[in-house]
């Protein structure tokens, strides 16, 4: 049973990590808590539903397309909402507030349009197949989540560490003004980061919607709270941190539910997050220098 529980934990952790990656990326580079992130998650799932059911596209292609479209939405939303605020040098709180209003707008528009019924991908589009190995059980969708997570993490690692674009992204994350002075096109980098983050959010939405087979407009909002916990534990803006913290949270939640008591399961996340803030406010992997106020 322990083996299966650990596997359950890793899969759940991968779900958390996958969701948190885009969230932490957008914070790390653009320095904004972008609450619309949860919306890309929901939007991705609905788009995949539309592509497969409405247009008859295959699941894998739909997954990719959904990621691209949500990435595009993220770029547009950033341009409409946050760029004007950046230009006006509005206080940090204003950006938080604007994404908040936008979240309210987008979710309610979505539920007014689609209704709040739970939807599912039809079995002919995607059916989970289970694999058994050494008494452990895993499903196709779970494997897909694990694989996607590994691909995205290594892709982001390669992009930020090995490419010129990555250098620009890191420079912008380090110090926006200095990066601009050094001739980096901050607008372009912002768009690329928004695209990546929105795309990751959308992909996560498709995969997780597929795994639990329940797609509804507010699914992204449910993920946000766990996303916050993971991002704090890993350190705001830290990709590797989000990965490790996500996996850790998943495993600890599962073990808590399996061996201590399931009513404590949800307390684990915020318990750990609060503990992190007490002991090491920059997160498990955050660098010790905190940005001066």
């Amino acid at each position: 049973m322990l083996g299966q529980q650990l596997l359950n934990g890793v899969v759940l952790g991968a779900v958390y990590a996958l969701f948190a990656l885009g969230f932490t990326l957008i914070f790390g580079v653009l320095g904004v808590i972008n609450l619309t992130y949860g919306f890309y998650f929901s939007a991705g799932a609905f788009l995949a539903l539309y592509f497969t059911q409405g247009l008859g596209i295959s699941m894998m292609l739909a997954l990719l397309l959904a990621g691209i479209v949500t990435g595009g939405i993220a770029v547009i939303l950033d341009g409409l909402l946050l760029t004007p605020l950046r230009r006006a040098k509005a206080p940090e709180l204003a950006s938080l507030m604007v994404t908040l209003g936008a979240t309210l707008f987008l979710y309610s528009l979505m539920s007014a349009y689609f209704g709040t019924d739970i939807r599912r991908l039809p079995p002919k589009v995607f059916t989970n197949v289970g694999f058994n190995w050494l008494g452990l059980h895993i499903e196709t969708s779970q494997l897909l989540i694990l694989v996607t997570m590994v691909v995205i993490v290594s892709g982001l690692g390669w992009l930020t560490q090995r490419t010129r674009m990555g250098l620009a992204i890191r420079a912008l994350a380090e110090n926006g003004t200095a990066a601009q002075l050094a001739g980096i096109n901050a607008g372009a980098v912002t768009r690329i980061v928004s695209f990546l983050s929105g795309g990751i959010g959308g992909l996560a939405g498709v995969l997780i919607g597929m795994n639990y087979n329940a797609i509804e407009p507010y699914m992204g909002e449910q993920m946000m709270l766990k996303g916050f916990a993971v991002v704090i534990m890993g350190g705001l803006g830290n990709i590797r941190g989000a990965l490790v913290a996500g996996l850790m949270l998943g495993v600890l939640e599962t073990l808590t539910a399996g061996y201590i008591g399931s009513s404590l399961k949800d307390a684990v996340g915020f318990g750990l997050a609060v503990l992190t803030l007490w002991v090491r406010p920059v997160g498990l992997f955050g660098r010790a220098t905190i940005k001066r106020a």
Binding site: F27, I33, L81, P84, L85, A88, A90, P91, E92, L93, A94, L96, M97, V98, L100, G101, A102, T103, L104, F105, L106, Y107, S108, L109, S111, A112, M224, L225, F228, A229, V231, I232, L236, S263, D266, A267, G269, F270, G271, A273, V274, L277, W278, P281, I290, K291, R292, A293
Partner: protein, 282 residues
């Protein structure tokens, strides 16, 4: 004629009470924002005030003034505990830490059978009315103005603008931050008690993240140039859902649109008047 007003007051009673209570919550948010801190724990503190006061009313039958002392005191104590680690944290960390507080408390209420657990606490006596709520609001507003127009108000604004420079002015920044969080928690707790005692029923989910965000939006919509901003913002955002009722499903859509437009086009809030921070005539 008086019957007409009696009817009007009956019909819109909870809306009118809601205006007052939410304005108090807006002020509690103001106290923190005015010092440049972002707390998303106001809903949590409101919940602690609501639970503390309701339990004393329902289980022990204590009188309302006594209950109110607890409604202010318990959240204030909690704020004191919470602020130990969070004072070291700046900006977004404090915000996220306080979100965590709300979530932890929700789970606590859910598992606390004495307080009704997930079923919530019903049968809370109807206490405090129009005059209690709006009297409190008036008192708090007067206090906010009095404090704002003194060295304390100047120190708060200094901390909001530049923490380090404020320290160099001889202002004990950590103490101010601590006091602001504790006082704002006490104010939110009182609002929670009023809310619980006019709606008769409270449940663990009433003080979650959404509500924290709503309270924040009162202050941001109204602006924090003066205490009137959050009050004005609370009035508007409380009345808005009622005014927009005929829109049904698209009500929240418009609500969101309004918030977005205000922030983009009027980043200092709708009510951007700055109060004078000197407590004597020129």
């Amino acid at each position: 004629m008086s019957a007409f007003f009696a009817n009007l007051l009956f019909t819109y009673q909870s809306l009118i009470y809601g205006l007052g209570i939410n304005a108090i919550l807006g002020l509690s948010m103001y106290v923190v924002l005015a010092i440049g801190q972002l707390s998303l724990g106001q809903a949590a503190f409101m919940g602690v005030g609501a639970y503390a006061s309701s339990l004393l009313s329902v289980k022990l039958g204590l009188s309302f003034p006594v209950v109110l002392v607890a409604a202010a005191g318990v959240p204030a104590m909690l704020a004191l505990l919470v602020s130990v680690p969070t004072l070291r944290l700046s900006g977004v960390y404090l915000a996220i830490a306080t979100i965590g507080l709300g979530e932890v408390l929700r789970l606590f209420y859910v598992n606390w059978d004495y307080a009704g657990g997930a079923l919530g606490l019903s049968g809370i006596p109807d206490r405090g009315g129009f005059f209690t709520i709006f009297g409190t609001l008036a008192l708090l507003l007067a206090a906010a103005f009095a404090v704002g127009r003194s060295r304390i108000g100047r120190a708060m604004e200094a901390i909001r603008e530049d923490e380090q420079a404020a320290g160099v002015m001889g202002i004990d920044v950590p103490r101010y931050k601590l006091a602001a969080l504790v006082i704002s928690a006490a104010i939110a707790g009182i609002a929670g008690a009023y809310n619980a005692h006019v709606t008769a029923f409270i449940a663990p989910g009433d003080y979650a993240f959404d509500n924290a965000v709503t309270i924040l939006s009162y202050a941001l919509l109204g602006g924090i140039g003066s205490p009137l901003g959050p009050v004005f913002g609370a009035f508007l955002l409380t009345a808005l859902p009622e005014l927009l009722r005929p829109l049904h499903d698209y009500r929240l859509v418009l609500n969101g649109l309004i918030i977005v437009s205000v922030v983009i086009f009027m980043p200092r809030g709708l009510f951007s008047w700055h109060m004078r921070r000197i407590g004597a005539a020129k």
